[in-house]
């Protein structure tokens, strides 16, 4: 038989009244994020060579390769492609970042991505230049 005691929660109640609230004051104050936080994707267009590995490994079909012409290698014409990112489908897993051999991709700390216009989330940095 358990012994019934009245008021087991009263000490905790006093302790909670004297502490400061645990609710974060976001968005009135900035929020603390750890180093490894996975936010919005970013690409450095200088380093990208169009090897397509990121498009092949992405689990959410975010990356489409766009044709940007051809270049001559020896006496062959090879196609040149660059990636287009539709970040509204991104699941922030980081597979593209891990597999890019040229370190062109990075997951930043930006997480405020809500927008009424889906076209804002299409990243064309690598395609336009």
């Amino acid at each position: 038989m358990p012994h019934r005691k009245v008021g087991a929660v009263i000490p905790e109640m006093f302790r909670q009244m004297l502490e400061k609230p645990t609710t974060e004051a976001y968005p009135y104050k900035p929020i603390q994020l750890p180093d490894r936080f996975r936010g919005k994707l970013d690409i450095d267009p200088e380093k990208c060579t169009g090897c397509q590995v990121c498009a092949v490994v992405c689990p959410a079909a975010v990356i489409t390769m766009i044709d940007k012409g051809t270049r001559k290698v020896g006496d062959r014409e090879l196609p040149v492609k660059r990636p287009l990112f539709d970040l509204s489908s991104c699941i922030f897993c980081g597979e593209c970042v891990d597999n890019c051999a040229f370190r062109a991709l990075e997951l930043t700390k930006q997480f405020e991505l809500a927008t009424p216009n889906k076209a804002d989330l299409i990243m064309r940095k690598a395609v336009e230049n």
Binding site: P34, R36, P59, F92, C93
Partner: protein
């Protein structure tokens, strides 16, 4: 449920019941976190029998897995459930690793154990808070979920995300533990242990919780639980020593010492004590593993084509035993993936627990089995049922919604609405 007389014939082997005694519980109900449909057959206030109907958040994952490469399936199965996401990807990964010739490095096994146990702690804290919520004790719910933030902050510091950790890869883990985390983890685990002892005291002495949980739930004996294939805490709270971590160790569970928790009283209060004790055991395991972490590599890279064969694997999720079966024909995509979640195995036991109970105890008993119906269903069809008069199909519901919210679009597509109705 369109024809009552047809239901009566088909339930051969069950008792006859009439429409007046049948109360539908769900699929949308304020007492349920996730949609499920239970047909309750009542006599006054007592429940005589329960017939389940599941599949309201079924997403077609087993069919979808047959057309995706192996690594992408790992991310898809991780998203079966939010609370037990890591153990899904771990079990799938172990089933596929058995088909290859590679071994998992030792440091990766320890990191897998640390994340699995942190997930178990956060899941049990979530559940204790929910039991307080359904008992009407909202304050307990708030306090427990405040302490759960401590664990989620640790997980975010290690993996980058609070819920879908994405730490698993085939034959290893993707990220190493950060520098100088050891002291922080050990101190936080001590804090969690102290809080768990305090909540145990509340549950044992506080009048509200005792009135709602003592002697609630049909008492079943060990033989019934075994025949109904109960898993996880539902088997351990009647005294069976069923724990995959002990019977068939995987990851680093053969090197980290622990003892499993069993109880013998068969009511909901025993489940509360069992899960809080398990929480303390998990916190000790995390502290031990972090202090004895071996050096070495964390991952072995494997080819994207898995050799032909069949393999299955099981793990201990916070809710019970999780099971994955994988069949490969030597290609880039699997031939068949089967996943069985613990809530599906616990449903026959849950139905047994409800017999003879009062209707008012239904939310407490249903939450006591720790249901995760998002895990259990794996294919989604829009479905709605309205009792007694008419049933709408998915298309009818969709057209009705369009008419309600977008009147101008509805006018343009009026022909589709007429056709559906």
């Amino acid at each position: 449920m369109s024809d009552e007389s047809k239901v009566r014939e088909e339930s051969a082997g069950l008792m006859e019941y009439s429409v007046e005694n049948l109360v539908p519980f769900g699929p949308i109900h304020p007492a349920l976190k996730e949609p499920e449909y239970f047909k309750l057959i009542l006599e006054g206030e007592k429940i005589i029998q329960v017939i389940p109907r599941i599949g309201y958040v079924h997403r077609g994952l087993e069919k979808a897995a047959e057309s995706r490469p192996w690594v992408q399936n790992m991310y898809m199965f991780e998203r079966t459930c939010g609370i037990c996401s890591f153990v899904h990807s771990l079990c799938y990964g172990q089933a596929v690793e058995g088909l290859t010739i590679y071994e998992v490095p030792r440091r990766a096994k320890y990191i897998r154990l640390i994340i699995s146990e942190l997930e178990r702690i956060h899941s049990h804290l979530l559940w204790v808070g929910l039991m307080g919520h359904w008992a009407g004790f909202e304050t307990l719910f708030m306090w427990v979920w405040n302490d759960r933030e401590v664990v989620l902050d640790l997980v975010e510091a290690i993996s980058g995300n609070r819920v879908h950790k994405s730490m698993n890869a085939f034959c290893g883990v993707r990220r190493d533990m950060p520098e100088n985390m050891e002291n922080r983890i050990v101190e936080r685990m001590k804090f969690i242990t102290d809080r768990a002892h305090y909540y145990r005291e509340i549950i044992d002495t506080e009048e509200t919780m005792l009135a709602r949980t003592e002697n609630v739930g049909n008492k079943i004996n060990q033989e019934t639980a075994e025949k109904l294939c109960a898993v996880g805490p539902m088997a351990r709270y009647v005294g069976l020593r069923h724990d995959v971590r002990l019977n068939d160790p995987y990851a680093a569970y053969d090197e980290v010492p622990f003892d499993i928790v069993t109880r013998t009283e068969g009511d909901v209060r025993a489940l509360l004590r069992l899960r809080l004790d398990e929480l303390v055991v998990s916190a000790n395991m995390v502290s031990y593993a972090v202090e004895h972490l071996p050096e070495g590599p964390i991952r072995v890279k494997i080819e994207p084509i898995i050799p032909a064969g069949e393999h299955s694997s099981h793990c201990e999720a916070p809710r019970g035993e999780i099971f994955y079966y994988v069949k490969s024909t030597g290609g880039r995509t699997p031939d068949r993936v089967k996943s069985r979640q613990p809530t599906m195995a616990n449903i026959p036991t849950a139905l047994e627990l409800l017999k003879g109970q009062e209707l008012a105890d239904l939310p407490m008993v249903l939450t006591a089995i720790d249901p995760c119906f998002g895990c259990m269903d794996r294919m989604s069809f829009l479905e709605t049922e309205s009792h007694k008069q008419w049933t709408w199909s998915g298309e009818q519901l969709r057209q009705y919604g369009i008419k309600h919210y977008f009147p101008e679009r509805f006018k343009a597509n009026y022909s589709k609405f007429k056709e559906a109705h």
